[in-house]
Symmetry: C2
Subunit: 368 residues, 2 copies
């Protein structure tokens, strides 16, 4: 097992922070940061900003110039080994004559994993792997999920009162959560590859499902100029083709995918004539290059997604309110018959957002 | 407006920390701490430990001995001015010839407020009031509520899944929360003046409603030896006298109050022949000396308490689980017809307890 020095930890930490500079823009590419040091001094650094633009290593090598000779490169992800829209970074590092490369993690794609590392080693460069690996993985949950499974990473956003109600019995629900919570949702949308909802929600709320820069939290606006906003693809499940062209959804700019029997995605109905969610999600990955799906939906779709095991993370806003059990519940009927069947999650984060609470929890994998 | 020095803040902070030494034992008395300084050195300190035993000032003056002459006394509550089971502390401070007394807050009882301060000032002692007042008030929420309103401070404990369900549709609920959450409940019970529940809950769970030292969190066990545990009074609402003597509730030591048409508390039925909760709570204060009521109940009682505005604080344990809306809801039917009628709360604290979340929220006062 390789040993890492305190300097190594510090530099990889910095590379991870740099990588975060791309969270709003790199999709569907991963977030990657790179730091190059010579004799313990930083001589180059960079991160991947946008798909099609240079990778992190290219920025860092350009900055290092001649000082890359004999240097150490810290990269949050194994350097690529293939010719895409840019030449392979492993080749760049070899040409720049770095002496050592430390990667936080291997490429998660099992078909390419290790090739970049092999290319470097074959060229006589020392390579170490695994420094701050879990932090590096957190940067790219969606990219990793896609590469390993062919399915998107799905975040399900919901909002309710403390007693789990999303609306009163008469349907009233505006507003359960605070303006700050709604800004926070905009921040999540801005990071997603696609936003998915149902025609019911889109029609009822006349929802545009887009990112509105003016509604982003101020702290995000300072990092992300309006001109740099990347609009996620907007996906609506509309089996019965109820969407009408007068809706804001159609008058707002941005890519649209409508899933219906005659929609943009091949008709994917299951035996019960419902949209087959699993195939639809797989298609969003393979045909539309979407790694990260942000779902805003009502109880019916939420329950289906949960039952089919398609949700990775629940992002739940809880408003400090009590509405009574005659309201509308977060999820529909799940028909559970014993406590052993209860859907379990792991809390990742709890915090106050405005006057509300935001809770992020990962769905536990149940063995089939 | 009096000005306080950094030394003053430090000493009052210390007095408040000292006062917390009595949180398990002083009921129905308030928690009070006292620090005495001479020339910026601490010469005496103490806190009120148990009703009937010496007050904080007495302990601190004993420790200070002759050094109380010309000293400054920091007390978290206005020194008492009346002869009770112990002589008035204001008199003790005068006899001990302290030069100055700083109190965090006045006595909350409007009929006595200021008398201790007046007694001290009449004796030529300089008195300042209001240092760290809100921290001092947090020490004694229940005592203050009782003194100001004649009603107990009511904490309502509930536990549910993330979607607000307390049981599956078949009634199964053991266990929604983790062992750590259940230990945390024991810690709350140990601080309460009384634990209130319904005969339904007591019968279904064969609940003893007591404090079990072995089930307290280890961090509490180290502060509170088993022999020092004060059992809260156990109050059960049992209008139809369904409790039978075989229940654990009867075989467990500790004071019991059964509220029924022929119970220990005078029959308090309202026009609908239900137990009148407001009068019952007022009686628990006036006849049984209970300031702080910890309620563990089901949806029916919880809804009644909320509707009647009798709850001060909700202590809600949320387990990272999803149960579906076919389970049993936290509250019953509230019949709210507009978002303006929704019950609002202020979050006081959110934290993880074991794998669960504990949320503490104060009910907002709605103007009638």
């Amino acid at each position: 097992m390789s040993e890492f020095t305190p300097q190594d930890y510090q530099m990889m930490s910095r590379a991870i922070e740099l990588a975060k500079g791309g969270i709003y823009t790199t999709a569907p590419n991963p977030n990657v940061g790179c730091v190059i040091t010579l004799d313990d001094d930083i001589v180059g650094e960079g991160f991947h900003y946008r798909a099609g633009e240079p990778h992190a290593e290219v920025h860092a090598l350009r900055m290092a110039g001649d000082k890359s000779v004999g240097a150490t490169a810290y990269v949050t992800l194994e350097p690529c080994s293939h010719y895409g829209r840019t030449p392979p970074c492993a080749e760049g590092l070899i040409k720049a004559k770095v002496a050592k490369v430390i990667c936080a993690m291997e490429d998660p794609n099992p078909q390419v994993a290790g090739r970049g590392i092999k290319m470097l080693r074959d060229a006589g460069i020392e390579v170490q792997v695994g420094l701050l690996e879990s932090d590096a993985m957190d940067l790219n949950s969606a990219f990793i999920k896609r590469m390993k499974t062919g399915m998107p990473f799905v975040q399900l956003k919901m909002a309710a009162s403390l007693d789990g109600q999303t609306a009163l019995s008469n349907g009233q629900s505006q507003w359960i959560t605070s303006p700050q919570a709604r800004q926070d949702v905009q921040n999540y949308r801005a990071q997603a590859g696609a936003i998915l909802s149902t025609s019911k929600t889109v029609i009822e709320d006349n929802a545009s499902l887009n990112v509105r820069w003016s509604e982003l939290p101020e702290s995000v606006q300072t990092k992300l100029p309006e001109s740099e906003v990347r609009q996620p693809v907007r996906v609506v499940l509309d089996r019965q083709q109820q969407l009408s062209s007068e809706l804001k959804f159609y008058s707002t700019d941005g890519e649209r995918i409508v899933v219906s029997a005659q929609g943009d995605v091949a008709p994917l109905l299951n035996d019960s004539e419902q949209i087959d969610l699993k195939s639809t999600f797989a298609n969003l990955v393979s045909q539309h290059n979407i790694n990260h799906l942000w779902v805003e939906a009502g109880a019916t779709l939420a329950s289906s997604l949960i039952k089919e095991g398609l949700v990775d993370e629940l992002v739940l806003y809880l408003a400090p309110k009590i509405m009574g059990s005659d309201g509308r519940g977060l999820f529909g009927v799940l028909g559970l018959e014993s406590m052993a069947e209860v859907i379990e999650l792991d809390i990742q984060d709890i915090r106050q957002v405005g006057q509300d609470i935001r809770l992020v929890a990962r769905l536990k994998n149940k063995e089939a």
